[in-house]
């Protein structure tokens, strides 16, 4: 089964453009990153109290009800008793009004700037991490279900191209490690399939919670490639491709990772 996947990936790489819905890792073989960490870290992630990421989820819950901006509205003010369960599972998604692709961070900032008269929150700021963690947590256990239909299609294809592009001093693409070599050892660690389903995640290396974009930048740094600035369109396209690639994987936010 695995050889077929590798052959497909190799063919896709050779061809340059993969056939539309070809998946290097079939849905039945998808494994969350938590399958590739040790049992202690997995136990910590599953401990709803001791999981350090929950500190941000709790903060996000408070922020959700705090009025902000010129208009002094809280997120809860518009969303009232609306359950946010399932919302994060659909991201990144196209904003109907502007036609732009947004991730969760973008959506939160759009609400803040356009509807609350509040300032945008920086990537990796405590508030943005707390709100994204809180929202993603509302979709705990739900399968990732981002759409690549309509205007999202172009972003999906750009993300797929980005995922398969060789880059950096090591001249590697994401596919080389995460499609072809997942499960194998890299120094003392096991290579994961590279899914986004546990983000924002508490990474031991950071000793704090971090966004998916922070993790992508760490990957780029790892292969000695240029790290694009936070919010770059290429990251967003990649996030959509990663969501499609992980379609069906349950959300685990906040994940605990190395």
């Amino acid at each position: 089964m695995r050889r077929a996947g590798i052959a497909l990936a190799a063919a896709a790489l050779a061809a340059g453009v993969a056939h539309a819905e070809e998946r290097a890792i079939p849905p039945g073989e998808l494994k969350s990153g938590s399958a590739f960490i040790g049992s202690d870290l997995r136990a910590l992630q599953n401990d709803d109290f001791a999981n350090p990421g929950m500190l941000w989820v709790e903060r996000g819950e408070k922020l959700w009800s705090e009025p902000a901006g010129r208009k002094k509205i809280a997120c809860a003010g518009c969303h009232k008793d609306q359950s946010m369960r399932g919302v994060a599972a659909g991201y990144p998604k196209i904003d109907k009004a502007s036609g732009k692709l947004l991730n969760l961070e973008d959506r939160i900032n759009l609400c803040r700037t356009e509807l609350m008269g509040a300032e945008s929150l920086r990537y990796e700021s405590e508030e943005l991490l707390a709100l994204t963690a809180y929202l993603a947590r509302q979709s705990l256990g739900l399968p990732i279900a981002a759409s690549i239909a309509g205007p999202a299609r172009a972003h999906f294809e750009a993300g797929r191209a980005s995922y398969h592009r060789r880059r950096g001093q090591m001249n590697l693409s994401c596919a080389h490690c995460h499609d072809v070599q997942w499960g194998k050892r890299l120094l003392s660690e096991t290579i994961s399939q590279g899914h986004p389903n546990a983000y924002p995640a508490y990474r031991m290396e950071w000793q704090t919670l971090g966004s998916l974009e922070r993790r992508l930048r760490a990957c780029l740094s790892g292969i000695r490639a240029e790290m694009l600035p936070y919010g770059s369109p290429e990251y967003l396209d990649l996030e959509l491709y990663l969501a499609w690639r992980a379609q069906g994987l349950p959300i685990e936010t906040p994940g605990v990772r190395r």
Partner: protein, 145 residues
């Protein structure tokens, strides 16, 4: 045999003897200072650490002391020592009869493969210890990013 256990065993064999230095806790100057000349005996204390740390930045640790925790017979304090961390006295925990049970769980940083020692001071003035070895590949404090 699980792969992890095999790797832990292999790593333990591969490391030079000095790294998993069998420093007798009784010779550790910090432990001797704590005990103030009183004997420090092995027993009563159980220190639990994984054999192989997933990541040196956050290692789960449990220290339990066999004690009735009554006013007449209880654990006054538990002291944790590292033989390789830059700060050897990692933590001290102060209990007493109101604890009911002498057990602490926490998460610690470990800077490399080493032996960790837990020393308990009892209400009768006696000292007891346990030590546990652990293999750490990604060290806290040293392997920084």
């Amino acid at each position: 045999m699980k792969r992890r256990d095999f790797l832990a065993g292999a790593a333990a064999l591969a490391l030079p003897g000095a790294v998993l230095a069998q420093v007798d806790p009784l010779e550790d100057p910090l432990v001797r200072a704590l005990a103030g000349g009183a004997p420090v005996r092995k027993g009563k204390v159980t220190l639990v650490l994984p054999q192989l740390a997933d990541n040196g930045n956050s290692v789960p640790i449990r220290i339990a002391v066999d004690s009735p925790m009554t006013a007449a017979d209880h654990v006054k304090s538990i002291h944790l020592y590292s033989e390789r961390n830059p700060v050897p006295n990692m933590a001290n925990f102060y209990l007493g009869p109101r604890a009911g049970k002498a057990e602490i769980n926490s998460r610690v940083r470990l800077a490399g493969s080493q032996r960790v020692t837990a020393v308990a001071k009892l209400s009768d003035g006696s000292f007891w210890y346990d030590a546990a070895p652990i293999v750490v590949t990604l060290s806290a404090c040293l392997d920084e990013s």
